[in-house]
Structure formats: C-alpha cells, structure tokens
Symmetry: C2
C-alpha cells in the first residue's frame, strides 16, 4: 500500500480566534484532501502576528508532507501572510507578473492600484495557485500552499490543485448507527478495535428526533475490511437487543 | 489596565480533522471567554493520539494562562483525554466519587456500568467542572480545563465556569461597514492603524445582497478610543465618496 501523505492546515486570522467568524475552511479542506488521499493530521488557528506565523510555518512545514494556509493575503495592512512566508523561507518578496496582469485588468486610480498590487507579492521561487474566480492567485512555496481566507475563493483555489498533489491511500469511512448509549457497546467496540488495529473505530454520540444514539464509524483504506468490521459491530449491537442501521460507505451522518 | 489573560483551545478528535464533523466549539468558547476578559491566542485541532495529546498539553499549558480542551471524555476506547492529561502531569488517574455518584444514579447492568464509570476517571488533584445537563462532570487540572466534545454539553460545562476564572481587560469591537473594495480604503486604514497601535484594525471583505463590501473592525479595551477610530474610518470612507455605516459596538456583522 502507498505511504500516507499528511497535511497540516494553518488558519490565519484574529477574527477566528476572537469568535467574530466561524471557520468553515478546515472542514472543506479536510473533505477535499481526504478524497485526494491526503490526511490532515493537525490544524492550528493562529493570529495575524508576524513572529507567530513565521515560527509556526517553519515548525510544521518540516513535519508534514503539505501545509495549507488560509487568510491574510488581501490588500490591507493586516494581510501579512505573504511577507511572513517569504521570511520563513529566508527569501525576498517580489511582484509576480502573472498576478499583476490580472489585477491591472480592472482599472483603478494609482493609489488604489498600488494597494491592490500588494496582492501580487509572492516569495521568490513560489509557483501560483490558480484562482478560478478571476481574482489574484494564491501561491505555493515548496510544500506550503497559501490560499485566501474567504471560503468561496479558498475553495476555488483548492479545486485548482486537483491532480497536482501527491496522494496516499484514500481513507474511507463506514458508519453503523445504533439507537443506544455509547456505554452499552463500549466493551464490544474496544475488542473489535483491538482485533483490527489498522482501522480506526470511532464512536460519536448524538441526540436527534428526541432519541439518543451513537454513530459507530470505522475508517481505513481497505473497503472490504471496513465492511467486515461493520458486520462485527452490527452483530454486537444486535447482541444487546438493539437494531443497528448500516449507513454504508462514506455516509454523511 | 489589567494584564491580558490568555488561553489556548485544544480541539481533540479525529472526526474534526477528517472533515466528518464541523467544529463549532472554538467559536462558542471564543465568544464566551471574550466576554469574561480572556483572549484566545491559539487553537490546535489534534487527533486522538496519546503522544500528540500529551506533548501538546505540556507545550501549551506553560505558554498560556488557561488551556481548554474539548472531546475525548466519553466511555469508549477512543476517549483517551483523561488518561493523557494524567500522563501529561505525571499523576495517577482515579475514580472521582462525585462523578461516580452521578453515573450510578441511572441503573445499568454491571458491564455497561463499568464502561460508564470510565467517565468518572480524573487525574489526582483535579477539580470538577459542573455539567448542568446532569451527566458526568468535566475537570480542571491546574490551568487545563477538560470539557466534553458534544457542543451542548461543552457549553453547559463552560457556563459553569462563569465567575471562577481570572480575567483581563474585556476586548470590545466596533464595526464600520463600507460598500467598497478593501483596496480603496487600504492606505487610509494603514495610517489609522499606525497612529493607534494599541487597537487592532481589521478589514474583512464580504459579498452580500449582490454587493461587495468590507467590514472594518476595530478591537481594543478602550471603548472611547474605539469610537474615535471608528470616526476616523467613517471620515476616510466618506472621503472616497462612499457612505459608511457605523454598526457600533460588538456588532455581529
């Protein structure tokens, strides 16, 4: 089997840490990379503080195959991600002609254009990440992919990377739902997990339609093995007198 | 002015990193702590991996005044947070009588009760965090507060800490909305930020009702200063021929 390909996501922005904005970028990136065979192992939400961004990028870029950042690449004074990435890699920041061309397409007075052109700055050696919305592109510096914070723009940039990244095994999930408390099934579940250490068995309680229940989610690369484990869990739920539902592969539950 | 009181949030759970679950706990904790005068400076989302949890807790608990964790305190094999916190502090895990009393209130067969009682385990020296839902309590070990992952349960636990934590200055926000691109106002905004380094001026573009606009958000402890800066931003937006809206203090925008 192929080796796992891992990623770390950095969500950059005071507005997430202050609670002003609910982040939805991690979830989208996780689902997308999951389909591409890349596993997110870590995410950090950090403020718009130069030293924090530089130190964090330099810590995580050596630890994971890929780093994906969101936020801080607009035209205002609090958009410091590009500057920080250049400093993290110890290179200069330059105006990238392909981004500048896009920005200049929309006319503006000189001072506004000067601000907009701040979005054309990339570290020396960076490659561009397309922006299907037609706005300024993102960029990749080695294994660090720098994307916008606005979800629709970030999603477009990420989609443009489809097929361009290395991939490991695709991790699938298989969900069994039981209308029972977690404790009733905990013992059996632990035994099943012990017997199948290369799959990941998770238990997620919920309350829905006035009923308590638990989604039992098996994750792993081998679809047949997931079905085998799901069958064991179905049998364990049946054994305690409940009726399990097999929601099947990659169910949203 | 009082010193800032800082916090780090640890979201523990494979289901967040795989994209199966959209985290909403960070946002709630951020808003709540903000009202209490505690600033979140960092958040990490980490997997249900013992070494990762232990190392992360030991790294961040010395760096911030408070650490708040969510997730991993249920009764199944993948709930390892309490074990990890005990190991991080180098102490034993014991069954806390006050939690056990609650758990035993609801009768169950011996094997199910044994699983449920796993939720009564806390590190030696921990104090309890009440759970207003009536379920097992969370706990605090020194400055590390360990809460459930289910949002409704976590929210109850957090609310029970109201008035029990030390607090710094409360950071307020003041929002000015302008239906203009960020670039048009970038220069003026940078100058205003330079002149008021102890407030934090942020610029957040949006697209709503078929119009592009930018929310200009000033954050700081001094409400009068926020209004002064808001007035400067209003004047700057007016100067470029747009009509700003003063959304006022702590507006949800």
């Amino acid at each position: 089997m192929k080796d796992a390909v891992t990623a770390c996501v950095l969500i950059i922005g005071n507005e997430i840490l202050s609670g002003r904005t609910q982040d939805i970028n991690l979830n989208h990136i996780a689902k997308t990379l999951g389909k591409w065979g890349i596993q997110i192992r870590h995410c950090r939400v950090i403020p718009d503080v130069e030293k924090t961004i530089i130190d964090t990028v330099n810590e995580v870029r050596h630890e994971y195959d890929y780093v994906f950042t969101t936020g801080g690449i607009g035209p205002t004074h609090d958009d410091i991600t590009a500057v920080c990435i250049a400093k993290a890699f110890g290179v200069e920041l330059i105006e990238h002609p392909d981004i500048a061309v896009r920005i200049r397409k929309r006319p503006a007075p000189d001072d506004i254009m000067a601000s907009r052109l701040l979005m054309a700055r990339v570290p020396v050696g960076a490659t561009l990440i397309d922006n299907p919305s037609g706005g300024p592109q993102g960029f990749a510096m080695e294994n660090v992919h720098v994307m916008a914070g606005i979800p629709s723009v970030m999603q477009g940039m990420l989609s443009s990377l489809d097929g361009l990244l290395k991939s490991g095994p695709i991790i699938h999930s298989h969900t069994v739902r039981a209308y029972t408390g977690e404790s009733s099934i905990a013992d059996a579940l632990a035994k099943i997990q012990d017997q199948h250490p290369d799959a990941d068995v998770g238990s997620y309680p919920f309350f829905r339609d006035e009923r308590y229940g638990t989604n039992l989610v098996i994750r792993g690369a081998d679809i047949e093995q997931l079905q085998t484990i799901a069958n064991l869990i179905m049998a364990a739920v049946t054994a305690i007198g409940e009726t399990p539902e097999d929601l099947g592969q990659d169910a949203e539950s």
